[in-house]
């Protein structure tokens, strides 16, 4: 143990109240930071997981062609400017597109969907629904639909073409349960009856309140579409690389492609803003803790001027004196961070047990928290920086104290 560390430990041990005050500031700051980040990222992650699980990481939709431009010289690039595109509803040759896209290493699986809007009726209840005509086998490979089933049986759905899976909140609106019948109104103003095979709950309000899954062939008949798929959903190994792949698919297939980041940009920005706002607010707690440590160490320097002078007379260097106070700050930061991390984890766990009936953008019955080691690293880093700055000034002041001035106080 170095002499400054030894002396720092002794100084700390004899100022228990000040030590506890400083420690509690760091512990609270670190714990609150971790807990707030766990909550805000928890909801964001929940949303991302849910939306990826339901809508995939990437989708291909309408085919496009370059608009005819009155130019004698054709464009050299194959990239077609978005403003100069003409879109056509539906996907032509979906099977060929899926066959080619499966060759990409990032693609895990893909599934065609025929999407359309219909009216649904059950008893006296009516609702506008988004019909997803799917190939059950492919769709279950590509999405988390199997895990989203909150009631009923996927087996029934797969084996009965006249059955549907209804979103959980839509089921509440229509007042239907598994085994009930729901009527879907086709564009030809003809109602067709379907049995509710299962209820699905994705956790995303916009999906759960509108979506009905049925078999693709049934959907094509019901929606009277000339094409078999209006979009292709992709499950990717690395969803973070979705934007680059989307760009590549657009060029390759001449179909509009959108990554989940592009699709959910506004919601993701909202979560990011909330996270930053919470981080700034809680960082202030850590800064306040740093201010408390600054006060405590400054008072220590003032009360230990005599000791500092005597240490200097015994051969302790300026940097030794400085190290004594930096060590004190360092130990407060280290112990405070460690205890703060444990308190933060405990707080996050406690928060995740708080019941909350959320039925809006997200559907959840409990607070959602994310367990991410980076929250702990950031909290420790912030605490360390804050405490170092708070300790540096008193430490430097202590090192600069001329010992003769203090010693002269006793004799001239």
């Amino acid at each position: 143990m170095t002499p400054p560390l030894y002396i720092a430990l002794r100084f700390l041990a004899h100022r228990k109240r000040a030590l506890l005050l400083s420690l509690s500031g760091v512990v609270c700051g670190v714990a609150f930071f971790i807990c707030m980040q766990a909550q805000t990222q928890g909801f964001a992650k929940y949303f991302i997981d849910s939306t990826l699980g339901s809508n995939g990481a990437l989708i291909i939709r309408s085919r496009f062609e370059p608009r005819q431009i009155n130019s004698i010289v054709p464009t050299k690039t194959s990239n077609t400017n978005v403003a100069h595109r003409q879109y056509f509803e539906g996907i032509t040759n979906a099977n060929e597109i899926m066959r080619v896209s499966r060759q990409f290493s990032n693609v895990v699986s893909c599934s065609p969907v025929l999407r359309g809007t219909l009216s649904a009726r059950s008893g006296f209840e009516n609702a506008t629904v988004e019909l997803y005509g799917i190939d059950p086998a492919l769709h279950l490979q590509t999405t988390d639909l199997a895990h989203q089933i909150a009631g009923g049986s996927l087996y029934d759905f797969r084996n009965r073409p006249d059955s549907v899976i209804v979103g959980s909140r839509l089921a509440e609106t229509l007042n239907v349960e598994v085994g009930d019948t729901v009527q879907l109104l086709s564009p030809g103003a003809q109602y067709r009856r379907f049995g509710v095979a299962a209820i699905a709950k994705s956790g995303v309000g916009a999906i759960d309140s509108t979506r009905v899954y049925c078999h693709a062939r049934v959907a094509q008949t019901l929606l009277r579409k000339p094409y078999a798929a209006s979009l292709i959903i992709y499950k990717l190994r690395d969803p973070d690389r979705a934007p680059a792949l989307a760009q590549h698919f657009e060029n390759l297939f001449q179909h509009d492609a959108a990554s989940w980041q592009e699709r959910e940009a506004s919601t993701l920005h909202l979560f990011l803003t909330l996270r930053l706002s919470a981080a700034i607010t809680v960082s202030l707690v850590i800064l306040l803790a740093g201010f408390g440590i600054f006060n405590v160490l400054t008072m220590t320097v003032l009360s230990k001027m005599k000791e500092i002078a005597i240490l200097r007379s015994m051969g302790y260097r300026r940097r030794d004196i400085s190290a004594i106070f930096l060590w004190q700050g360092g130990m407060i930061a280290a112990v405070g961070s460690l205890v703060g991390c444990m308190a933060g984890a405990f707080l996050s766990w406690g928060v995740s047990k708080i019941p909350i009936h959320l039925r809006g953008l997200l559907s959840t019955d409990y607070f959602v928290v994310a367990w991410d080691w980076r929250h702990y690293v950031w909290a420790i880093l912030l605490a360390m920086i804050s405490v170092f700055i708070a300790s540096y000034v008193p430490a430097r002041r202590a090192a600069q104290l001329p010992p003769v001035t203090t010693l002269r106080g006793s004799s001239v």
Binding site: A309, S313, R319
Partner: protein, 234 residues
């Protein structure tokens, strides 16, 4: 200048304060301290005794002249080097002993040894215990220094000054805060250790009895040494 002097200074000038309050504290002071000798610096308050002591102890810089430690000019050395020499060669004793009040007597004595870093923990403890035993405090090793009497605290300070086996002990009125009995006892203890170990000691004192018992007496007035005489020469 004697070649065997442990500590010496030549033509030391020192100004204290600034502008109108500036005082010429030391005016061309020269002094030599040889091994095995005890020097007393006497004079009225404010004559520059303590200022001279701090400069000789490398705690303060002279404005003119130089200090030599074992024939090496040290006044110009950087702060780290000065600190190392203080730690290795010089032991300080102050009037108000300046112990670390949260530390035990033994821990106080170990503080300079820790900085020197030549002994392991157990050896440091043993040496501190030996030094405290030499000053008659073997039964109070673990007592917090703030719970010791004034005389005991000064004896701890003496033991601490001797911790790194210094060449020179500099004492600023080491008995000024003690009663006559403790004062005499502390001085005799210091004197015997200095003579026994062939160290050198320079002490600032107002006590004529102690000054008379030293090998050399230097009388200071207005920042100058006006007379130096060895014991018995008057």
């Amino acid at each position: 200048m004697k070649p065997d002097a442990f500590l010496s200074c030549q033509d030391i000038e020192r100004y204290l304060g600034e502008d109108e309050s500036r005082v010429h504290a030391l005016r061309g002071v020269s002094l030599e301290v040889e091994p095995g000798s005890v020097h007393a610096v006497v004079g009225p308050s404010g004559c520059g005794k303590s200022t001279l002591l701090y400069i000789l102890g490398l705690l303060d810089h002279p404005d003119g002249g130089f200090v030599m430690l074992e024939a090496e000019a040290v006044s110009h050395l950087p702060d780290d080097q000065l600190a190392r020499r203080r730690n290795e060669f010089i032991g300080f004793i102050f009037q108000f002993h300046f112990l670390m009040e949260d530390f035990t007597a033994q821990e106080n004595v170990m503080i300079p040894m820790r900085r020197l870093g030549r002994l392991p923990e157990t050896a440091m403890r043993d040496r501190a215990a030996g030094l405290l035993e030499a000053v008659g405090l073997s039964d109070k090793l673990q007592r917090a220094s703030r719970h010791l009497s004034g005389g005991e605290q000064q004896r701890v300070a003496i033991a601490r000054a001797l911790a790194n086996d210094p060449r020179v002990v500099l004492a600023d009125e080491p008995t000024g805060n003690l009663d006559t009995k403790n004062s005499r006892r502390a001085f005799e203890l210091l004197q015997s250790i200095v003579h026994q170990n062939q160290m050198a000691m320079l002490l600032v004192t107002h006590n004529p009895a102690i000054a008379e018992a030293c090998d050399w007496i230097h009388e200071m007035q207005d920042g100058r040494i006006i007379a130096s005489h060895s014991r018995g020469l008057g």
